[in-house]
Amino acid sequence: MSVGPLGKDLLGLEPLSADQIRLILDTAEPFKEISERTIKKVPTLRGKTIVNLFFEASTRTRVSFEFAQKRLSADTVNVAASGSSVSKGETLVDTARNLEAMRIDMVVIRHGASGAAQFLAERIESNVINAGDGTHEHPTQGLLDMLTLRDHFGKIEGLKVCICGDVLHSRVARSNIWGLKKLGADVAVCGPRSLLPNAIDAFGVTVFDRIEDAIQWADALNVLRLQLERMQRGYIPSLREYNRVFGVSRERLARAPRDVLILHPGPMNRGVEIDSDVADGPQSVILNQVTNGVAVRMAVLYLLSGGRPELAEAAKGGQR
């Protein structure tokens, strides 16, 4: 185990300083270029073993982490909850101990329980990266969203960003709120009050009850996925009404005083929280987010494994 400028683990953006977040974003810049090469591989993490431990189904995040690891030449193993010892009733602490016994360097964990990444990090010496824990945090998603905003606007400070939708159950929302606020953005949320935390004021964000008002205010909207389950559990009456009242549509965006940038962490429910012509339209940077995801994760892997930030540019060339 090595401890770099981020500490042992990346569990969330709430515990990080503004400088640490800037460091990750700055370190991601040189790594972007690797994915544009014909041969997308550098030897930076050669000899490191990483386990991707996914207790929840995930395509985008898992593949993104895996590409980041492979492009840095790490040896990786993917473990999904189904078909593993987990489905046979093994506890998280036993899973952790078994992984530790195999002398691995890093674990990337996605888990349905808030706090699961911290639980693991406190019990093993390997570096732990939180790839989403329950409704708590999803730090690399927050980082890639910020990198995408910075690419477009040149800076985060003073930017007006509204997070739209199911903030109550969203780990993406929490990581975005902490990260953006630390870098000096003005952050707002917009959604039905039944899908906002009752204590939302404590986050230091503006609350918009109407999406029209949010659009008037914002430089960028980060539109959260609305899970079908929320309707089944009675938080909202129907997806149709949700789209009518809170959906981000071209008509609504057209009334904005400026071009509002559109982000979405995916996977999208087209026609629910976001209309197709917005998702596919000129103000959407949804696919840029996906591209940036690989670079941000390479930066996190590099920094956590003890890589020195000033050498990131050199590291991509293969020199250590």
């Binding site: 602490v93 808030s114 699961a116 639980f119 708590h136 939302i200």
Partner: protein, 433 residues
């Protein structure tokens, strides 16, 4: 009972049942209090007198815990009636009331008889069974209160679960009047509390944990108080945790409604901040609340809105707590830390004095649940606790008599330790010195 006599000499005798607070001696013979008076004034002829020096110690009627979980039958690997009764003795409790959410549930006279029989074998602190309100704690069919009381049950409760049906609660309050027993309710509105794992507030929002709002408790508290008014039955509200509940109980008492209430040491000392870091030893139901709630509960203890302090002792196997926060079971052990937590957070901080603490931990529980003890008057059962109210110690869960180790106080330095516990005049616990 043994004819051997015990003299507790030179302690601070505190007995709110006779407004007593002075230094003196206490003589115990044949399982009862035989004499009480100034130092050297209490005499007894003959031999076989064991003398216990109590200088610098408090001698009080034994503490009575009206709310604990002893896990037997069903989860004997977690706690048994014997280990629970010994933990009680070590904590200065001469009697505890065992909640019925065991496996099987204590919902009939045979189950009540089993607990009494196990308690007799344990030969430590007294254990009184609390019977279930409904068969299997299913919230549907009333259990046989009469037969359970005849077998030794002292109250009824579906604790662990709320009584969701207002009609069932109404019937229970009415039916219990025949037997003169309290109906103890775990106040939790189940649809509001659904899937909640901690107090709803800033910390739950930050940690991404589903919250239980204060209103889940308060809605049921006022429902129960109103039903007690309607029926005249005795409602006893378990483990109150919010400022709003204190206000509602005060409202009820001002109107002469037959409501009593208890609070746990952890709700008088810790806040939701203890959950930070996803510490499963800070997970209990009702959850730890805010500093404002703690202050209101402390005030309730002081002014009598809250009648008794009860532990809600809830042992769990160590690996049940060693898991994801949302999946870990609720509850902490409390019997062996209750006195010290109360002394540290209530007495040392000047909110209540020692006689009031003894009232809340001994006299009031005896009176409300109609149990022996709670008094040092001549002729009373010799259930007595001797404790050092000043000594500081560091909580080491591995030293507990309870099988449970799940405590949020581990490693904390607290004030006050039990020196000696006597039940029926017999020493059931003595501190190693």
């Amino acid at each position: 009972m043994t004819g051997r006599a015990v003299l507790l000499r030179g302690g601070r005798l505190i007995d709110p049942s006779q407004r007593l607070d002075e230094t003196g001696d206490l003589l115990i013979e044949n399982g009862t209090i035989a004499g009480i008076g100034r130092v050297g004034e209490v005499r007894r002829d003959g031999d076989a007198l064991e003398t216990i020096d109590c200088a610098g110690r408090v001698i009080s009627p034994g503490f009575i815990d009206v709310h604990c979980h002893l896990r037997e039958p069903g989860r004997e690997e977690v706690e048994t009636i014997a280990t629970g009764a010994r933990a009680a003795a070590a904590g200065g409790f001469t009697a505890v009331c065992a909640m019925p959410n065991t496996d099987p549930v204590t919902d009939n006279q045979a189950a009540v008889g089993f607990i009494i029989s196990q308690a007799r074998k344990a030969n430590a602190s007294r254990v009184y069974p609390i019977g279930a309100i409904s068969i299997g704690e299913m919230g549907e069919t009333l259990a046989e209160f009469g037969e359970m009381v005849a077998a030794g049950a002292v109250a009824v409760s579906d604790d662990g679960k709320p009584v969701a049906s207002a009609q069932l609660m109404r019937t229970a309050l009415e039916y219990a009047r025949t037997f003169g027993i309290p109906v103890a309710d775990h106040c939790e509105e189940p649809t509001l509390a659904r899937d909640g794992v901690m107090n709803e507030g800033i910390i739950s929002a930050r940690l991404g944990l589903r919250g239980i709002p204060a209103e889940a408790e308060e809605i049921m508290a006022i429902r129960d108080i109103l039903l007690a008014r309607r029926t005249g039955g005795h409602i006893h509200l378990c483990h109150m945790s919010t400022k709003g509940s204190v206000e509602l109980i005060r409202w009820g008492k001002e109107r002469g409604i037959n409501v009593t209430a208890e609070v746990c040491p952890h709700h008088l000392s810790l806040t939701e901040d203890a959950v930070e870091g996803y510490d499963t030893n800070a997970k209990m139901n009702p959850p730890l609340r805010t500093a404002e709630d703690v202050a209101a509960l402390q005030q309730g203890v002081k002014d009598g809105t809250i009648d008794v302090i009860a532990t809600d002792h809830a042992p769990h196997h160590y690996d049940e707590k060693e898991r994801e926060f949302a999946d870990a079971p609720n509850g902490i052990v409390g019997l062996e830390t209750a006195l010290a937590v109360n002394l540290t957070w209530l007495v040392k901080s000047g909110i209540v004095d020692l006689p009031l603490l003894v009232e809340r931990m001994s006299c009031a529980p005896a009176r409300l649940f109609r149990l022996p003890g709670g008094s040092l008057q001549r002729g009373a059962a010799a259930d007595v606790t001797v404790f050092d109210p000043e000594v500081e110690w560091t909580v080491d869960a591995s030293s507990f008599r309870s099988k449970g180790r799940n405590t949020p106080y581990a490693g904390m330095t607290l004030r006050g330790l039990v020196e000696c516990t006597l039940v029926d005049g017999r020493v059931v616990y003595r501190r190693d010195r």
